[in-house]
């Protein structure tokens, strides 16, 4: 039995970059445990995903994104065996998900979830039907974006939220689907949780408000349970007002908007998993 502490894990290694700030965000949001665990520790079987409630897949460049963003990273999780078991890490993640726990992937972590088929996972299917590819501008960019939150989304991370202002920092963030049916289903099920918007909060295809040309302005999606969520913008990069690019000229609350996503996750765990 787990004690009544919220345990979060951030997987690190092989090119992840944001593990420290993600763990920091989890702590700030109230998690009692926020462990940064190297993937070698998981593959060696010394640390088990099952001991945690909230799995974070952080931003970075897994294996340099050499084969396309997160492709080689997804391949490792799908094929590398965990020592002392018949399982791969992908198997462990499936069990983690089946146990009703939470997963959030940011940037490279989102790319990883999509390319492993964890998102959107209509009706539990692991077939990849969306992807994230090169920005329409063909270049990496770091800029802040407004995001409109779908209030009807089942996503547990965005409950009660209307808008977010977060930085995007990627070269392969253009969200596309394999066909229009997939897109329609995403929209109909309200799985397209956050959309790039102009400052009046209208979803937009115009650069630079939509920084990468994502279809239907989609910046992040969840699975039908709402417990698995991935997005390109970086919530862990706005947890304090000094992260905001205009903090020297605007009156801002102490907590940054990105922290809200982690607070919602921790609240859900306390209310649903630890009750």
């Amino acid at each position: 039995m787990m004690s009544k502490t919220v345990k979060t894990i951030v997987i690190a290694g092989n090119g992840t970059n944001c593990e420290r700030e993600v763990a920091h965000a989890c702590k700030l949001a109230g998690a009692e445990v926020a462990d940064i665990v190297h993937v070698a520790e998981l593959l060696a079987g010394r640390v088990k995903l099952a001991d945690y409630h909230f799995l974070n897949l952080a931003g970075g460049f897994l294996d340099g994104d050499d084969l396309g963003s997160a492709k080689a990273g997804a391949n490792r999780l799908l094929h590398a065996p965990v020592v002392g078991s018949e399982q791969t890490l992908a198997d462990q993640i499936k069990q983690f998900v089946a146990a009703g726990k939470l997963v959030m992937g940011v940037c490279n972590g989102f790319q990883l979830m999509v390319k492993m088929g964890l998102l959107p996972a209509f009706a539990g299917s692991a077939k990849q039907n969306c992807t994230l590819t090169h920005n329409q501008g063909g270049r990496f960019e770091d800029r802040w974006s407004w995001l409109k939150v779908d209030p009807e989304s089942p996503c547990v991370f965005t409950r009660g939220l209307e808008r977010l202002y977060l930085p995007v920092r990627h070269g392969e963030g253009q969200f596309v689907t394999d066909n229009t049916a997939t897109l329609k289903q995403l929209e109909a099920m309200h799985l397209s949780v956050v959309k790039y918007a102009d400052s009046d909060l209208n979803p937009t295809m115009e650069y630079p408000d939509n920084p990468n040309g994502s279809v239907a302005s989609i910046a992040g999606i969840c699975d039908p349970t709402g417990r698995l969520f991935g997005l390109m913008p970086h919530p862990e990069a706005y947890v304090h007002y000094t992260h905001h690019p205009r903090w020297t000229r605007e009156e801002l609350p102490e907590e940054g908007m990105g922290l809200w996503l982690y607070q919602n996750a921790i609240r859900f765990i306390r209310e649903e998993l630890l009750k």
């Binding site: 992840t16 492709k71 920005n135 329409q136 394999d178 970086h234």
Partner: protein, 993 residues
């Protein structure tokens, strides 16, 4: 057998990469193609089953949503010309390495030696019929012939069944590795020929010193004991050439300089480095006494200063100019990941927190025929920016500060400065973390990448000018991910106390890293044949001096060796035991059990003769230009804002991740639209603390054409005033100098060597004078002394350039100040006096003039001003602050206004300036140590009290009306421009880069 897996986009999916290539071909070469599409090719040379290849092709190699795959058949169709570009044998292929690992995960089997995956890219061009043009596109744009090769096929030449013929760029060597001996009992001319032909960059005096050493009967006796003859081995000669290279030994900075000034006064300077650089730091530290915050200066890979009671900050800036001239992408990428190893490999190890980048290029729009072997500045710009982007972004290190500096002479050699800061605990396992010591008996362990022929002679090559025979092997390509994995491992090994010392393998490879570490114990015994190789066939000397990247050398105690190696293996990092550190007094290398080097440590490290360099200073006969004040100063201001040295660099800044690690408090882009130009960066390295690191820099090569003394002084002041502008504590700040010079040694090739050497002396004198005056100790630095291009009769020398980097601290990052005006009604203050100092200014340059009155720095007044500013900032009186530099007051006012989204009304009559100074000169003078500050009206008295007795003038205020309105000495309107118009002029030039 070898398979070819071709991956392309599905029909109807837009090829953004192809479109970009099409655009760039038009920009770079002027060819208008109808379309360019791209395909990725993996050539897999390994024993695999069809099923395994299909699993790889449809798994990690392709994306089922947008891509299609073909195995051993072509995907290309509907094109006029196909160009496939792949690497030459032995060139680092990061994607190939990742692809190989991916296949190994699928099969569960390791590749056998000699098996591999090689990547290439196919470009499908339409709107092009002749092969000659295709050849030009391939050679001049798509590929770099130094590291890549290509195949061109017209549509009817592509075999529709098999596609492009399989070609495996595997390194094949039939040479048997064996050390050779070299006869040095030869004439002086032959000695020089040995040096030249071997790319050794040793001069006659040095060759003679080696000749004498090896002829010493006592030396011969000792050599015979280990089975060596009376001739030097190639391993030894290469080790000496590397250790004694300008790059590693800094012979010019260590030389004896016979200096004569303009009045005929002579003095002998015994080492510029010791006299001025070490000397300044010594004197400043003495003066600081108990408040000395320096922890480790000059002796390690980087400098270390205190951050707080628990943490220290490590800082280093390197240059990577010569490799970037040949292969801009690989050179710059290697530059950043190389300096990162310095940042990590200082003391017992540190964690990287941010990068800084400063590039000096010729204009990317240069419209001139270039001499042979020079790449167009636009290609250099593109390649360098992309290389540093990949190096920094992929490594997870934010790039938070930098500059782009333009001068036509940088076409001869671009300057690529890469800086990095890291953080380490003050104490590690009970000992100061910034110290390390190899123990006798420690094992020499190499970690990270394998050794290939990459970067052979990098150290000696960068010690020469760029010439016809510059070697292609001098180019390396960095691999940020292999390095990142190694760093992750090393920090764990550090905390577990698994090693006693370590350093990086940069220039000179193992020869340099092991040679330097062995100075702790006084000897080494290293088995070169144990080193892991990328491919067979390397000679022992090549193993010793290869600059293959991503390697660190460690001293691991015998009782920790097993634990060290097994941790490395588990974390997928290669670690190899190469021998031991000894106290034998010898640099002893063996190959397959036989001694191939037995040089005394003393001769290796202390044997290089001191150079003697003549220097004679004669100021150039320069005059101030004569021209009337232009009628339309609005137009002049706009022209200045559009100059390359002033205009917005946003398109470059956005390509760098400047926010990863979530610590960037003052970002490079600030203001109402997130696009104003920051003076400096503030970074919070500890997420649970608000203490900040502040980093900035100064660089002004324009002034070198008048006097390098003042160039140096201005660079220091610029760095300091940028630093203080954002709130950096003026009493806890360190400097770091990076000299990039043209060859200053008088010779046939360099007839003006005495003048260039005198320029070097003068810059050093200013470095001492101003660092001492500001109380800013130097903690580390580097010099790059041969930034010339010479082929045939064409010689291009860069302007003498010093990057002065500044690092320090702000107690509370929440008190940092940005440069943008904040709200209407705020008062605008100008701190500092404005003089007739437009020599070397951007304003004169715009008129095609140089002038003679270069800005001079009054450090005493400046320091008082910066102290008072610190106080005002601490009391919360400053709402914005921007330094005045290129383009002076006019440009600073414009930038402040449009960054903040409000207007400014300012009166030149209020500016403290010489009574006869013309209005255009007041506007565009580049007098130093000046800052523009805005203050709330209610803070007026408190602010002015702090600056009582100093030059502090309220020259205007922030206005709701979005217009820059400047009145002249008679109160008449001089400038009246909408801020949007000014901003557009400033943003347009490099927007599309």
């Amino acid at each position: 057998m070898a398979w070819r897996i071709v991956v392309g986009l599905k029909d109807g999916v837009r090829d953004a990469r192809g479109e970009r290539v099409r655009r760039e071909i038009k920009e770079n070469l002027g060819y208008r193609l109808q379309s360019v599409r791209t395909l990725d090719v993996y050539t897999v040379d390994a024993d695999l089953s069809d099923a395994e290849i299909e699993a790889a092709a449809n798994g990690p190699f392709s994306d089922p949503v947008i891509q299609q795959v073909a195995i051993n058949r072509p995907l290309a169709s509907d094109f006029d010309m196909l160009i496939e570009v792949g690497f030459r044998p032995g060139v680092t292929d990061n994607t190939g390495r990742t692809a190989k690992e991916a296949i190994q995960y699928i099969t569960g089997r390791a590749f056998l030696p000699g098996e591999g995956v090689y990547t290439s890219t196919q470009y499908l061009l339409t709107g092009l019929s002749d092969k000659e043009t295709a050849e030009k596109i391939a050679g001049d744009f798509l590929a770099n012939g130094l590291i890549q090769r290509w195949t061109i096929l017209a549509a009817d030449e592509l075999d529709s069944v098999t596609g492009v013929p399989v070609s495996v760029p595997k390194v094949v060597s039939d040479s048997t590795p064996k050390a050779q001996s070299i006869n040095l009992k030869v004439s002086d001319q032959q000695l020089l020929e040995i040096s030249r032909a071997g790319m050794l960059a040793l001069n006659l005096e040095e060759m003679q010193k080696i000749q004498q050493h090896i002829a010493d009967p006592q030396v011969i006796v000792e050599r015979q004991k280990v089975g060596l003859g009376s001739e030097l081995s190639d391993v030894e000669l290469e080790a000496l050439a590397q250790t004694w290279s300008e790059h590693c030994k800094h012979k010019i900075f260590s030389a004896k300089i016979e200096y004569e000034d303009e009045n005929g006064n002579r003095e002998t300077i015994d080492s510029l480095f010791k006299t001025y650089i070490v000397g300044a730091t010594r004197d400043i530290r003495k003066a600081m006494g108990e408040n000395d915050f320096c922890l480790s200066v000059f002796k390690d890979n980087a400098g270390v200063i205190e951050f707080n009671d628990d943490w220290s900050i490590v800082f280093k800036v390197e240059t990577h100019n010569s490799p970037s001239a040949l292969d801009p992408y690989g050179g710059a990428l290697t530059g950043i990941v190389g300096v990162n190893r310095d940042g990590v490999g200082t003391g017992m190890g540190a964690r990287l927190i941010f990068n800084t980048d400063v590039f000096c290029f010729a204009s990317p729009f240069l419209d001139k025929e270039l001499p042979p072997r020079l790449l167009h500045p636009r290609r250099i710009f593109e390649g360098v920016v992309e290389g540093v982007e990949h190096g920094g972004n992929k490594s997870g290190i934010p790039t938070i500060n930098g500059s782009l500096v333009f001068d036509e002479r940088f076409a001869g050699k671009p300057l690529v400065y890469c800086g990095t800061a890291s953080i380490m605990p003050r104490m590690l396992n009970g000992k100061p973390c910034h110290e390390k010591q190899v123990q006798v008996g420690d094992h020499i362990v190499m970690t990270g990448g394998r050794i290939g022929k990459d970067g052979i002679h990098g150290a000696t090559f960068s010690s020469e000018e760029l010439h016809e025979g510059s070697p292609v092997t001098a180019v390396q390509i960095g691999d940020p991910i292999t390095q990142r994995k190694m760093f992750d491992f090393l920090l764990i090994a550090r905390d577990r106390g698994l090693y006693n010392s370590f350093t990086d393998n940069g220039a000179g490879g193992l020869s340099s890293s092991v040679g330097e570490m062995a100075e702790d114990t006084g000897g080494v015994e290293m088995h070169l044949d144990r080193a892991p190789l990328k491919y067979p066939g390397l000679q022992p000397w090549e193993i010793l001096i290869s600059e293959a990247q991503e390697r660190m050398t460690l001293a691991v105690p015998a009782d920790k060796l097993d634990e060290f190696i097994s941790l490395a293996t588990e974390m997928d990092v290669e670690a190899t035991d190469l021998g031991t550190f000894t106290d034998s007094g010898y640099f002893h290398c063996l190959y397959q059990g036989e001694t191939v080097s037995y040089l005394s440590m003393e001769f290796l490290h202390e044997g290089v003769p001191q150079m003697v360099i003549p220097a004679k200073w004669q100021p150039r006969a320069l005059t101030e230009p004569e021209f009337a004040q232009p009628q339309n100063l609005d137009a002049e201001l706009q022209k200045l804002l559009a100059r390359l040295n002033i205009c917005s660099k946003e398109s470059v800044v956005r390509r760098y991740d400047h926010e990863v690690q979530a610590g960037t408090v003052i970002k490079p882009l600030v203001g109402v639209a997130n696009d104003g130009p920051s003076d400096a960066a503030v970074f919070r390295p500890l997420l649970d603390s608000f203490e900040g690191v502040v980093v900035s820099h100064g660089i002004c090569p324009n002034y070198s054409d008048i006097d390098t003394y003042h160039m140096m002084a201005c660079a220091i002041d610029e760095g300091m005033r940028n630093y203080v502008a954002v709130g950096g504590n003026i009493d806890h700040v360190a400097g770091l100098d990076n000299f990039c010079w043209c060859d200053p040694v008088q010779s046939e090739k360099t007839p003006d060597g005495e003048y260039k050497a005198a320029q070097l002396v003068r810059a050093n004198k200013a470095l001492y004078d101003y660092c001492v005056a500001f109380g800013v100790p130097l903690i580390s630095g580097k010099d790059s002394m041969k930034n010339d291009y010479q082929i045939g009769n064409t010689k291009i020398s860069i302007p003498p350039t010093v990057l002065f980097s500044v690092i320090g601290k702000i107690a509370d990052a929440r008190k940092s100040i940005s440069m943008d005006v904040k709200r209407p009604g705020d008062l605008v203050y100008l701190l500092g006096e404005t003089a007739d100092e437009l020599g070397g200014s951007e304003y004169y340059a715009e008129q095609g003039e140089l002038g003679s009155q270069v800005p001079q720095v009054d450090a005493e007044t400046a320091l008082a001003r910066y102290r008072a500013l610190n106080q005002a900032q601490a009391q919360g009186l400053v709402v914005s602050c921007h330094d005045l530099s290129d383009g002076g007051l006019g440009v600073a006012l414009a930038e402040k206004a449009f960054a903040g989204g409000f207007g400014i009304k300012a009166a030149l009559a209020k500016v403290v300036a010489g009574s006869t100074l013309r209005e255009d000169k007041i506007l565009f003078s580049e007098s130093q140590s000046r800052l523009l500050v805005t203050v709330r009206a209610e803070s007026q008295d408190a602010f002015e009290t702090l600056f009582a007795g100093q030059s502090c003038r309220r020259i205007g205020k922030v206005t709701e009306q979005p217009e820059l309105l400047v009145t002249g000495l008679q109160g008449q309107v001089l400038i009246s421009s909408p801020i949007d118009l000014l901003k557009e002029a400033w943003q347009a030039p490099l927007r599309e880069m």
